[in-house]
Symmetry: C2
Subunit: 385 residues, 2 copies
C-alpha cells in the first residue's frame, strides 16, 4: 500500500485525535494532508506542528490570527471560516477524507469530497441520517466506498466484505445501554449532565455520549445503517449488549450470522477505515475470551428511552423526518449540556419538532437544508418556554 | 449459478443425507451425480431412485447384487468395492466432491478428486488430520478451493472471505464440551456407549459423537484448522462454549475478531459449502438473540479430557504424529462402540500408540499410508490385552 494522504475534517475531536494516533503509528502508510478544527485552535496548532499537513482550516474566524502566527515559518496553508471547509474539501490533494466533524456541520464538506470522487471514512453520523438517500446515490455514481468508522457500522462492514451479492436478512446493532440501563423515567427526570457524561464502556465526545445515554445515538445509527447497507427499516434491529464486546451482527438469508467483536476501542474501527482493505497489525489490548465471561443480549426499553422509539418512527416514515429528528435532537442535547433543559426534555423537544415541521417524502438536498434550519429554529423556540 | 453436479462420497451417513436434503430443496442449483455408501445398500438404493445419479458405488461387494437388482431398469451405473471409490472419483463428470466418508477411508477418493482439479466440500476430518500438508499443497497447485463442512471450520472460512491477505493472529474453535462437560475421571471411567452417544447440541454419526464426548473431535479439528488456514500450532485455540451458538472465531492481526453464529444445524454449513460463494435462502429455524440469552466461554479441562491434550501434542510435533493419533483413536472408538473397552481406555490406546510408532518428520504420502496401517495394528493389539 502506498502512503495514503488523509484529510481529517474534525481533527481536534475524539475521532480526529485517535486518527492522528493511528497516522503517527503508521507513517509508512498514512500522512495527514488536511486538518480542520472549529474552535480548538491550540490543539490544531499542536497537531499541525507535529504532522506538517499541507493545509489547516480553523472554523472560527476569530482564531485565524492565532493559528497564522503560530504556524508562521512553516509551509502550511491556513484557511478560516465555514466556507473554507467546503473549499478545502474540494481540493484534489488528498486520497481519503475522514469525515469526523460532529453534527450537521459535517455534511457539506463530505458532499464535496464525494463529488470529487474521494473515498470517505465516515465518522459523522448526521451525513447519512439527514441525507442518506442522496449521499449513497452519489457515492454509487462515483463508485467510491463509504467506510463507516462507528464501531457498529464498521462491524457490519467487516462482516460484509467478500459476501458479494449475498442478501442480508437483517442486521443487529448492539447497544451498551449507556449509563442508565435499567433505569426508569422517575430516575431519568433528575439526571444531570455530569452523570450522563459517564459512559460505562466507550470514551467519546460530549454530544455522542449524551446521545448514548438517551439511546438516540442508537436510533441515529439505525438510520445510518439503513442507508449504508441499503436495507428496509424492518431489517434493522437493536439489542442491548452491556458488555460492548459484540460490536454488531449481520444475519444473511441462509440464516448464518456473522459478528465482529473486540474490546471497545474506537482506534480499531478508525484504523480499519483508514487502511481498508488492509488490516494493520497493532498492539492494542486484545479481548480475552478465556476470562470466564458472559455475553448477554436483551431488548431495549423503548418505553423508557423514548428517543430510540422516535428514531425508529422517523426511520420508518423516511423522507425528511430523520433530518427533523436529528436537528431537534442536536439543539436539545446542546441545551441539556448547558443545563438549560432536563434529560427527559430532550425527548419532548424532538417529539414536538417531529410533529410540527412539514413532512416531505422525497426531499431535494436544498429541502434537506431548509428542513434542518426550520427544525432547529422550532426546537430552539421550545427552549424559551 | 448453473446447476452444480455434486459427487457425494458417503451419501448414507449423517452429512450425506443432509446434503441430499439440500439438493432436493434446490433442484435448480444442484444435482446428485455420484452417490456412494459402504454398507447401507437399502438407503443407497432409495437415494438412487429418488435422485437418479449417473453413478453409485457400494463399498461392500457382498451387496452389489442387491443394488444392481434394485436399480435394474434405470440408467444408473453401479460399481462395487473400495477401489471403485477411487476410480469413480477420477471420472470427470462432476463439478464438486462432497467428501463425507467417515474416517481414513475418505482419504484416497478425495486425493483423486483434487488431482482432477475438482473443488472439495470437505466433511471428512481425517483427510487433513492425516495428510494436511500434502493435501493443501496439492489443492494450492491445482488452485481449487477446499471448503470445510464442519461447522467450526465453515465458521472460520465464512469469517475469512473477503479478507484477502489480512493476517490471522489466532483462531478460536468453540467446543460444546459434549455430554460430559464438567465431569471428572472418576465419573468418566464408568461411562457407557449409550450415554456417550447422547450429544447435547448436535445430531451426528456415532464415531464423531464419541469423539465429541472425549473432546478428541475438537483435537482433530484443531489439526484440521491448522492445515486449512495455514497456521502455526500456537495460533489454534479451543474454548468451551456450551450453547453452541458461536461456531468459531478468527482474530486478525489488528485485534478485530470475527465470529460466525447460528443454531447448531449441520445443514447450514453443508449448504454453504455446496453453494459457495453463493448463500442460499432457506427457512431453517433462526437463532433469536432477543430471547434473554447468555453466551459463555471457558477453558477446556484437558487434565480430564486427555484426548484433547494428546491431539494438541500431536499437532505441535507434526510429521506423522497426527496420523498415528487419528488411526489409534479410530480403532479405540470402534472398540468402545462395540463395548470392548471403557471410555478412558480410548485415551490409553491413543497415548500408547503415539509412544510406540516411529516418528517421521516429513512423511511422503506412502509413509502416511504405512504409518496409518502400523498404528492401527498396534492399537488393535492393545485391545487383546
Amino acid at each position: 500500500m502506498s502512503q495514503k494522504r488523509i484529510a481529517i475534517f474534525g481533527s481536534t475531536g475524539s475521532i480526529g485525535r485517535q486518527a492522528l494516533d493511528v497516522i503517527a503509528a503508521n507513517p509508512q502508510l498514512f500522512s495527514a494532508e488536511i486538518l480542520t478544527a472549529q474552535t480548538n485552535d491550540e490543539l490544531l496548532i499542536k497537531q499541525a506542528l507535529q504532522f506538517n499537513p499541507n493545509m489547516v482550516v480553523i472554523g472560527d474566524e476569530q482564531r485565524y490570527l492565532n493559528v497564522k502566527e503560530a504556524l508562521a515559518g512553516t509551509s502550511i496553508k491556513i484557511f478560516a471560516g465555514e466556507d473554507a471547509l467546503e473549499q478545502v474539501a474540494g481540493m484534489d490533494s488528498y486520497d481519503m477524507m475522514l469525515a469526523a466533524i460532529v453534527g450537521y456541520a459535517g455534511l457539506r464538506p463530505t458532499l464535496k469530497a464525494i463529488e470529487l470522487g474521494k473515498p470517505i471514512a465516515l465518522a459523522n453520523k448526521e451525513t447519512l441520517v439527514v441525507a442518506g438517500d442522496i449521499i449513497m446515490r452519489m457515492a454509487a455514481e462515483k463508485r467510491i466506498p463509504i467506510i463507516p468508522v462507528d464501531s457498529e457500522h464498521s462491524a457490519i462492514f467487516q462482516c460484509l466484505v467478500g459476501e458479494g451479492r449475498n442478501k442480508i436478512e437483517k442486521i443487529v446493532l448492539t447497544a451498551s445501554g449507556g449509563p442508565f440501563l435499567g433505569k426508569k423515567p422517575n430516575f431519568l427526570v433528575n439526571v444531570k449532565k455530569d452523570h450522563a457524561l459517564q459512559h460505562p464502556n466507550w470514551r467519546m465526545g460530549a454530544k455522542i455520549t449524551i446521545d448514548s445515554a438517551t439511546l438516540m445515538n442508537k436510533g441515529l445509527e439505525m438510520i445510518e445503517a439503513k442507508w449504508l447497507f441499503n436495507l428496509a427499516y424492518e431489517q434493522v434491529q437493536v439489542l442491548v449488549h452491556p458488555q460492548s464486546i459484540v460490536h454488531s451482527m449481520v444475519q444473511f438469508e441462509d440464516g448464518s450470522i456473522k459478528a465482529q467483536m473486540g474490546l471497545p476501542d474506537m482506534k480499531l474501527p478508525i484504523q480499519y477505515a483508514l487502511g481498508f482493505p488492509q488490516r494493520i497489525a497493532n498492539d492494542f489490548p486484545r479481548y480475552d475470551f478465556r476470562k470466564p465471561g458472559t455475553l448477554t443480549f436483551e431488548e431495549p426499553d423503548i418505553k423508557t428511552f423514548r428517543n430510540l422509539g422516535l428514531a425508529m418512527e422517523a426511520m420508518k416514515q423516511g423522507g425528511n423526518m430523520p433530518c427533523i429528528l436529528n436537528a431537534a435532537n442536536e439543539i436539545a442535547v446542546y441545551a441539556f449540556l448547558r443545563n438549560r433543559i432536563g434529560f427527559l426534555d430532550i425527548t419532548e423537544v424532538v417529539e414536538r419538532t417531529m410533529g410540527t415541521i412539514s413532512f416531505i417524502e422525497k426531499p431535494t438536498l436544498e429541502q434537506y437544508f431548509e428542513t434542518d434550519g426550520e427544525a432547529r429554529n422550532f426546537a430552539a423556540s421550545l427552549l424559551h418556554m
